[in-house]
Point group: C2
Chain length 383, copies 2
């Protein structure tokens, strides 16, 4: 017998939880040397933790993601969680078998402490007084949450893009706590091109006079700057091919060219719409902090190289890249795979042929789902 | 005996010329239906036009180029023309043999009439009252210049990137006037991705409050917006590989990470520098108009397809692409080549292996120079 939820493949109605720890000047020791607190962590869980607490999977989100990875908040909710196609009964991360945890990252703006949170020492939003953070710092906060949940060992840490960076940090920093790590459409270090795109996004935001040095809460937000940043980011998430297939040179509600500066092509209005929509749900300062955290990311840097970093790990690894991903192309995944092999680690690698670009890890379900479920099952069953 | 100029391979000291035509409401009939004038065309020439006027080569520039393709304006001049490595005695376009013409495009800001020019009917800069123009319109203006110079038939029209688009328009629109066309790192139509990057650039400029609807002359210019637009454009001109080789993750004047929002990596300060430098020499409204002109560009559109468009041509074609050019990748050059072959035209095609990205047509000299000179020589000698 299946329940209705199982038939639809959804985890159904979910509720976010908040976990708080630390106090002013005492909480998490950041890479910049500062001890930072208090920290609130917004998280959600799906499925049931088994008695042995051996079936917990931590899902780590990408740049603009949040803790709401699956399900709806109410039956009327128009949108599902961001990884709805991967998390649920019978899906790639099967909630009938596994207990899934997803938390919003430190520095975010979707429930976890970030620049838009109130600094208890001033009673005002942190803004740009928020400490500069790293991917490693995000993972330190997740570690406190996992401790709080009483989970000794994570069956898997799985994430795409910036989520993959966090999964890598988990495997390297807490080798005893991670049985496996799945790294999707990601990289072991941000390249010059990646840093360059981030710099453009920050430049767009900081050029908006409404940004006002980060002090805009309760005032008009730097909407144009943030929208422009999102537009350029969005281009890097798609591919030449997917844009050609989806939009090509199709005109927007016209048959012939107009000679003015309104959106002429569908791709223009699509991008502008993406930019505007983003402003409604994302904080410009979080964009600045999180993009900077990605810039710092270079897994081998603290350990004298990638092979050394991986030598510390005890996890099984799954690395997945996508043919059309030009933000973190396959050669960057292969670099990880070669370093893992050199460090004599257990690693599986697949390049999935998919036209969606970097966003493939969010959109391609079938092959990715099967690969991940078979990887996780193997680790769970100790095969 | 060689002169000093021939030994150095430079055309030496050059002088720009201005050619004016038309009057208010009468000049060039634009694609938007408007008759536009007066028009000033800034141009330069190198080498000597032969008696038969059969050795003239029109060089057409890319997005942010200008008429100053080779030589210096004075011995103290720090910079050469933008295609110095291709134009000169003994170079790819050999000024001992050929007469080279290069003009700034309509809509530009480097001497030819554009949005920053004075509208004689108001006595003020056009700004956004300048008519919306197309690549085709740019070529119509060049045609008036070539008529003025008394040149019946151009030996070659050669250009990279947006210059390639103009060379294509020349061959299609004035088949009797073009004996050959060399299309480098270009495309027969701007793709959705190309339009998307242009839309981001315009969004950055138009979001800058100093842009003020295009009315900023004599006031502070939209420097931040234009710089941001240039930064994103610049990324598309380079390649992942060239950025990795040139910058990688090298820090700027530091050994260890700083945890602040200053430029940390060399690539950041390089890009910011490129953005700032661009503001000194380029007009934000020209950026808007010229990027829009590229958006419109779809060579086959007016003729019911690319093969039909090419059927009109009488020129020999040379098409060159570069392996690392992801803005106008090789498949877009091949699309032109296939259409030319289908139209039964004479076409040579080469893909040059080069890591510089789209900018390869500006930076790769040796192979490109040989390919172009041999192509032009063949046409000139009627072989």
């Amino acid at each position: 017998m299946f329940t209705m939820d199982e038939l639809t493949g959804s985890v159904g109605i979910v509720q976010p939880c908040d976990f708080e720890f630390g106090r002013v000047g005492e909480g998490v020791l950041l890479d910049n040397g500062q001890s930072f607190g208090p920290v609130t962590v917004r998280y959600e869980t799906y499925g049931t933790l088994n008695r042995e607490k051996s079936n917990a999977i931590l899902v780590v989100h990408a740049f603009s993601g949040d803790a709401h990875a699956a399900g709806k908040y109410s039956p009327e909710d128009r949108y599902d969680g961001w990884w709805e196609n991967m998390i649920g009964p019978g899906k790639g991360l099967d909630t009938r078998r596994y207990f899934i945890i997803c938390s919003n990252v430190l520095g975010g703006c979707r429930g976890t402490t970030g620049p838009s949170s109130i600094d208890p020492s001033t009673g005002r939003e942190y803004g740009m007084t928020f400490p500069v953070i790293t991917i490693h710092d995000m993972v330190k906060v997740q570690k406190v949450l996992i401790d709080h949940l009483g989970i000794e060992s994570l069956l898997c840490v799985v994430g795409g893009s910036m989520g993959g960076m966090q999964a890598l940090e988990w495997a390297v920093e807490y080798p005893e706590r991670v049985r496996s790590a799945a790294i999707l459409a990601s990289t072991a270090r941000l390249t010059a091109q990646g840093i360059a795109f981030d710099a453009v996004g920050r430049s767009a935001i900081m050029s908006d006079p409404n940004w006002n040095g980060g002090d805009y809460y309760g005032k008009p937000v730097p909407a144009r700057g943030l929208a422009t940043a999102r537009m350029v980011g969005h281009i890097t998430y798609l591919s030449d091919e997917s844009m050609r297939t989806k939009f090509g040179r199709r005109l927007r509600e016209r048959e012939t060219y107009a000679y003015d500066f309104d959106d002429l092509f569908e791709i223009e209005s699509y991008l502008n719409h993406q930019g505007d929509k983003f402003v409604e749900r994302f904080d410009a300062n979080s964009y600045i902090y999180i993009s900077k955290a990605m810039d710092y990311f270079d897994l081998g840097e603290r350990f004298g190289g990638l092979v050394n970093a991986f030598s510390r790990t005890r996890a099984k690894f799954l690395v997945v890249s996508f043919t059309s991903d030009w933000l973190y192309p396959t050669y960057q995944s292969k670099e990880m795979v070669f370093a893992l092999m050199k460090a004599n680690k257990d690693v599986s690698f697949t390049e999935i042929s998919c036209a969606y670009g970097h966003d493939s890890f969010l959109l391609e379900t079938e092959r990715q789902g099967k690969i991940i479920s078979s990887f996780v099952d193997t680790v769970y069953e100790g095969r």
